[in-house]
């Protein structure tokens, strides 16, 4: 998909009208994810109960790709086991690297639409930001930190 179509068909909607851009009342963990070179700066909040992501939200500022990616990620991971969320993060980053299989990409649901970012090296970090941050948070929780 060409960049402008990607914006029109997917990114703009999530960027301009995000469903999960807010603060959670009582998150289990909050972590700041930053891309220093772009100034993307998101704050990702997870509510984890019985190893399941009961709720999630994000805040902060950044480009449309980083914001939309965060919003789509949260759509996908709410209700998932933390291990599954971790696996999905790997799959998403694999997709952006160009190494994920068709099945792995399909499992990402709407976020699969960002596949073409793999041909836009300048935007890879933006797309990955929320996923990288989510992975870090779950790993911290699993290590009991």
């Amino acid at each position: 998909m060409e960049m402008k179509d990607l914006y029109r068909e997917i990114v703009n909607e999530h960027n301009l009208y995000p469903s999960h851009k807010k603060d959670l009342a009582d998150p289990t963990i909050v972590l700041q994810g930053v891309n220093p070179s772009c100034g993307d700066d998101i704050n990702l909040q997870l509510l984890v109960e019985n190893d399941t992501i009961a709720d999630a939200a994000f805040n902060g500022s950044g480009c449309a790709i980083s914001q939309a990616s965060a919003d789509m990620m949260i759509d996908l991971i709410i209700g998932k086991k933390t291990d599954d969320a971790l696996r999905l993060a790997e799959q998403f980053m694999g997709m952006i690297k160009g190494t994920a299989t068709r099945d792995e990409i399909e499992e990402l649901e709407e976020a699969a639409a960002l596949e073409d970012i793999s041909h836009m090296p300048a935007r890879v970090k933006c797309a990955n930001l929320a996923w990288r941050t989510m992975k870090e948070e779950i790993e911290k929780l699993q290590k009991g930190e």
Binding site: M3, G39, R123
Partner: protein
Amino acid sequence: MNNDFKKDFAIFEGNDIIYFDNAATAQRPRKVMEAMTTFNDTCNANPLRGLYDWSVRATAAYEEAREKTAAFIGAQTSEEIIFTRNATESLNLVAYSYGLSHIKEGDEIVISVMEHHSNILPWQMVARERKAKLVFLECDEEGTIAREEYESKITDKTKIVSIMQVSNVLGVTNPVREIADYAHAKGAVVIVDGAQSVPHRAVDVQALHADFLAFSAHKMCGPMGMGVLYGKKELLEDMPPFLTGGEMIEYVTREDATFAELPHKFEAGTVNAQGAAGLSAAIDYLRDVGFDRIRETEDRLTKRLMAGMQELPYITICGANDPLLHSGIVTFNIEGCHPHDVSSVLDTEGICIRAGHHCAQPLMKHLGVQSTARASLYFYNTEEEVDRFLEKLGKVREWLGIK
């Protein structure tokens, strides 16, 4: 009125890319590439080491570039010209060599809030190492550093003042000569970051009253990996080497060494002679174009660009309202759009602009913006490009879904 300079550049052939990222790096004309190829094809050898014809001619090409650079910026002798990799290395050289050897506890180093990171981090290092204080000159929204500001911050404690001549974000020109005179009266040395001025106007170190001047070849149609540090001879003579090794010594014993004369004392290891040949050709090329013409074109295009942008109510331009105070640099934001998205969608239209913090995070913070987009012009840009850019700029919000 459009010019024909684009014909001099192979990269513009067969496409209609609009290259508006000249403050990051300028394009290289064929003549510069030819000079580098000629060096490669006729006299490539290690300069300064050999005693045979190729090496002698390689040395001559390298030293001729030094002479030309010296004349270009009004240095008194070519020994005052040190070749480095870029402006960043030039500024680091002054900081590590002059800074660390002259700054003592309690001294003050004055820079400005609008500096490029390459003129901030080296001084943070010196201040930390020597327990000195780093003092910032503040500017107003237009980028002006007021006389009261520098007269109150430069004091008897100030030993170094390091300041950019032209800002890579605001395009504003600082009153470097006035600051230098004030600093000299207080006994400080003055370092000028000329990375954004030397490519666009005739810069004369004598007229500027600068003790040091740093700039990069790649922003003035020359090659990457080639930079210049000018320093006053008596200051350079008194400074310890920055890097040590080959090419910069007189005698070496097991325990000790004596250093070569200027400028070789500061040029350790095999130098970038091919790059110097390229810089030399870039200076010739810019002289042929002429700084008057460069200035006139940039001013005319900047006026047109800013006038067009000012018609779009959702665009804010950083810095002065007067286009003649911008040195061809127009940094802006589009309401509701992140600069990275702006540059991504413009890229799909063949338009190259910069987005981000432009290696000037303290300035961004001072201006209260996180990130900005920047269009920066050079003499080979045209009115047609400006018009096409404005037309596309007017569509960005629609592309990003803002009604």
